[in-house]
Symmetry: D2
Subunit: 394 residues, 4 copies
């Protein structure tokens, strides 16, 4: 069985998730398409990197990502850094002939994403963007129903991603609130996951019409080196810095196939934690999913008898997508880890079998085009075409 | 205790609901502000009207609504007819000095609604539009929380009204699908309830930006005199007639106070029955309501301790709005009937105490302005001001 | 259409519910089997009775129930008094040849219930016990599925009735906490509703094995004449009286047909309001119902395809039991009132068509036998036969 | 950082879960109390063991568990085999001075469990039983609330564990249906998890009174070597073998502290997958948990204001037990893997810090005593003392 050496750039929360996936994937999907080997982890200082290697089970560590990208032993570069470094690392990795998986959003904007797409295409390497939520088995089951025609032609999509970790004005000014690092706010951070759902399940988005707001214009500056998610209380008395990204947006969407819908994301919704949902109405049925209860997909079929029609709550397990590799009983439990394990499985399969995987950098680029269109629409108050370059992309 | 004689124009499903409310209101709210007496019911033929009187407990019946409107014994005219007759009846009733309650939407469009508003104002009678859902105790509780500042300044509102009774292309061409009778489709029929929620709970809507669709362009013509709701299967082989109203719309909304949001309504959502919901995010908390589970209001407070913060599911009962008059234990059960009983109570209180009641014809007119703006926006693809005449209205 | 004159003994909360049902029933079920006419209401004083008549729409009032029972104009005696007077009134009414509907539980114990059953049988009148919850359309739908064999042979039944209105030790010593009036506590008050579900849906209960507890041994005495439900805060400083009934019981049950199960009821479950639920497992499917969300029945069918099997949430409406008479769209909303309207409909139908109705006094007696057996089992710690007299009863 | 070598006996589904936990634990809890090293895995044949080692990331493999138990390099023996081998392996491992974690139930019966307890006590090694579900953060949060007195003195506990993977009569005769291997059926397999919850959250169970049933008396024999969970369809035509364990049981329970309750488990509940729930009523509040929605704990506090009292849905995250080590946002997602990672963390902490951990073999033994009492009670129809040996155990 082929072993593929991974160089992972970043050792934070997302690095933990990816490391767990590398360790666990072959345990779930066996025979594995290839064995991912945790070769080298990179963090900003040697000390942090050394700690990350011990913690995450990598053989080596480094504070020099360029050296790791150039290391001929490395097969895969895994980018789990803040958004502003994705492009530079990915382009270098592509030039070095590495397969690349990058955290989402692919880049801070479409222009940057396009450079990345051009680079991986030129290099002929495999590429993936880590919109992991679509790999929740219940979401994959929704896709299966749709492909089998079980809810008919799709009319409507409503997607939301609501959180509350930054609803407190004293939650610190993480990089996620800074445009120069993040590109955008709730839009890039979480809204793009919903855009990914919409494109995956319904089809290409052609037009958007949005509003966006920054509810909390400044937040306490962080002290200490580490970036904090807002769940850590900020210092009330600390000096503050400006937030220059959106806290919330809502957009109407038109799909190329005629469906309509809306997408909403906010990090200021008290009581919502990871409320990533979609509801889809088709001519023959409906679907509903809420990641907070991610083992479940709700589906209603029009052709059920009138006296027993209603949403079915299906718990995913062995009879559903990826079920052969996961747990033997439904609701034994899909966690964040399992979504990343499946993602890793599909990425390694694409490398081992020399096939493409979705979502790839072309998807990531198209999502960036849509995100840029959402911001433009919110600013100008007009419908904006979101798929202008689509033909060229695919 | 004063007795007020009711002349009810219409003997269909909604007439049933109102008749039950007239009979039941004093049983719940005692001492009643006044006793509504079922004096005369009107239907399109004498036979139908006679039947309605027997069934609904009216002393008299008639097929001549004008005569009833002119009858000096009558104090209140209750309009429960299709939308195209609201204006004519209401204007005549106002001229005859009757207090008026009209089913929603107030009229087919804003121009018609304005004539009705002018008429009741000129006559100095009491007037109400029957947006009964806001009288669900859980919705009134949401209003109470908001007024007490318990969720802080409102940032966002999302409202939906999803049904599936006309999702089947063979459901018959009820008047609800005909613009000349209904004015609009899902918008006027159910979407206006959500607009009423939005204005009641958040404040005035200033701008809208919408999409709208007619998914099923023609439906089987009805046979027989009676109008059928779509839950009755239409005849597959019957000749068909055109649908010229919206099956679905989604609109972005901006509120005058700076909040943003979206409103969506459709009658083509398989599995949704009376899915009238709102979610509101404020600076200090959030609210969620779903009429399908109408005894419940969900509320999350920001200032709950971090280890026990989350949406509370509050079942309304004696400790909540209207609780003194309803059932003695929460979840004993609010049905459609109770919402109409509360509505009747508030309307009669306004007459007995010579005060205004909300929503009145000014609200009904403003909602019609918003509905017209939604259709205009959907057609033109631009933001449309929805509150142009507001200052004049209030 | 025949008119039946009702003499209602009692003018409290339950009298309100019944009065609404008499007024509303013909509005929903038309042609009505007969028209119930609110002839005379009885309360403990003339003043209370006069008030009740005005409030509840009765033509006459009285403080002398015996006179009303004897009144030849009266066709139906409706007993909505505390439990200790059910037997005396019912036996007198039977002797006077009146049809009788009695609130639940039928009596304080089986011996008393047996006298009532003997009396109505001797008189040949119609009789019903007001276990109204089984008339919730979703519960009637469960019965329909079971009768159609759609969940197969039943294996297991779990029923609960959980409330919290008396969980506060300062809630007053209502008659519901006094054995001489109530007979038993949570058992008779709410537990018997679950026993009614169990017998209705599964079959006869043959054996019980129970535990019971009185968690709060004394409560503040009530001041003033009116009995208060515990949701009214008692007076902390008031003198206290002893509670001599159960606050809670749990019983294992065996059914004559081999199924097993458990029943639990308490009024000390903080956060539960009217949590009347059942879950039933059959060889071919399962059912779940929670009255707090009473428009819904959940059903899972074994023969659904493995990839889309799961509980369906069915909202009752026109396609379900009683749907022809209720509201035209599912989830428009069943409240407590509607359950009583259906009950009245079925009772009047039994009179008009000279057929029996269920649950009748034989059911009420058998439920009392089971309740007595539960208390005996809880006291002695042994299994107790609950259906000894069943053959004689039916 | 100390490394502890693990010898894992068993390479099936549960071995996968444990292997993931060994790999992942230090990624989550850092600094880790010790690093668990996957030294050797044992399976029934060399080929299976070799495959398991490759798949699960062990350095070595063996088909001779005795040799592994004796291997001086091994620090921890992890028993993930069917129930009938737990005792023999554990006793041998104890004699060899190894720390031991055993899958649940600890043994087939109390007598066997007692031998295991005696062995680990004599050897002075650390021991744990893998009742992992109590390590779900939401369950640990329930424990925290209880310990802080936030729901007051506990009155009632109701626990269920409902599954449907063997509801189909053609699901194969896994070892889980054979008394000689499993000891008991639903009771040992899943019911003991509920018993663990009850003891963990409420206190010691003193008496039980149960019913038990075998609904499907025979099932198709398995073909091929591997044991199959019932979700794999059995062969209709295959020869059948007898089931000699319970498919379902329900038991009343009395706790030593005066609380009462019930516990129910079945694998024949169509539509229930991993419906492991508890509801607890205390004098000051209530708790509800359902593992199918395991990120949530519902809690109702009596002292909330009357107008906003109701169950709160708390999503566990950084502000809750184990939150410092898990994911940074609530509802990012706890899966089965995370529960095992936490279990491993606590077990290694007990070794590293030379402290005891719960549940240990004493707990496992006491649970076996209770399980035996449940079977005895079901057979004899009488209350059975379940804690006779408790004083000796603790």
């Amino acid at each position: 069985m082929k072993k593929l050496n991974v160089g992972m750039i970043g050792g934070g929360f997302m690095g933990k998730a990816h490391a767990l996936a590398y360790a666990g994937m072959p345990m779930f999907f066996w025979p594995a398409p290839a064995i991912p080997h945790r070769h080298t982890v990179v963090d900003v200082t040697d000390e942090l990197a050394k700690n990350a290697a011990a913690r995450l089970g990598f053989d080596n560590y480094s504070s020099d990502w360029r050296a790791v990208v150039e290391n001929p032993e490395i097969d895969i570069i895994d980018i789990v850094t803040p958004n502003d470094s994705h492009a530079e690392i990915a382009i270098a990795a592509a030039k070095a002939g590495k397969h690349i998986i990058s955290e989402k959003p692919l880049a801070r904007n479409a222009a940057e994403a396009k450079l990345m797409l051009d680079a991986v295409r030129a290099a002929g390497v495999k590429h993936m963007v880590a919109f992991n939520y679509r790999r929740t088995p219940a979401v994959a089951l929704a896709k299966k129903y749709i492909e089998e025609g079980r809810i008919g032609k799709i009319l409507n999509f409503r997607g939301t991603y609501l959180q509350d970790w930054s609803a407190d004005p004293n939650s610190p000014l993480s990089w996620r609130f800074q445009k120069k690092i993040a590109g955008s706010g709730a839009l890039g951070d979480i809204g793009t996951h919903v855009v990914d759902f919409a494109r995956y399940l319904v089809g290409e988005i052609s037009d958007v019409m949005a509003v966006a707001q920054t509810w909390i214009p400044e937040r306490p500056l962080q002290t200490g080196g580490a970036d904090k998610l807002g769940t850590v209380k900020g210092d009330n008395e600390a000096p503050k810095g400006a937030v220059d990204v959106d806290d919330e947006f809502i957009t109407l969407v038109k799909f190329a196939n005629g469906a309509i819908g809306s997408i909403e994301a906010t990090r200021n919704a008290w009581g919502r934690n990871n409320f990533l949902t979609f509801e889809i109405h088709g001519e023959k049925g409906s679907l509903y999913f809420n990641y907070e209860r991610r083992d479940e997909l709700k589906v209603s079929f029009a052709d059920d008898p009138a006296d027993s029609r209603g949403f079915r709550t299906v718990y995913t397990g062995p009879a559903h997508p990826y079920g052969e590799g996961l747990w033997p009983i439904p609701a034994l439990g899909i966690g964040y880890g399992e979504t990343k394990i499946i993602e890793t499985y599909d990425f390694l399969k694409s490398i081992a079998s020399d096939t493409s995987v979705s979502p790839d950098f072309a998807d990531g680029y198209q999502i960036a085009v849509i995100a840029d269109a959402i911001l433009e629409s919110a600013e100008k108050g007009v419908w904006v075409k979101a798929a202008a370059e689509l033909a060229e992309v695919k």
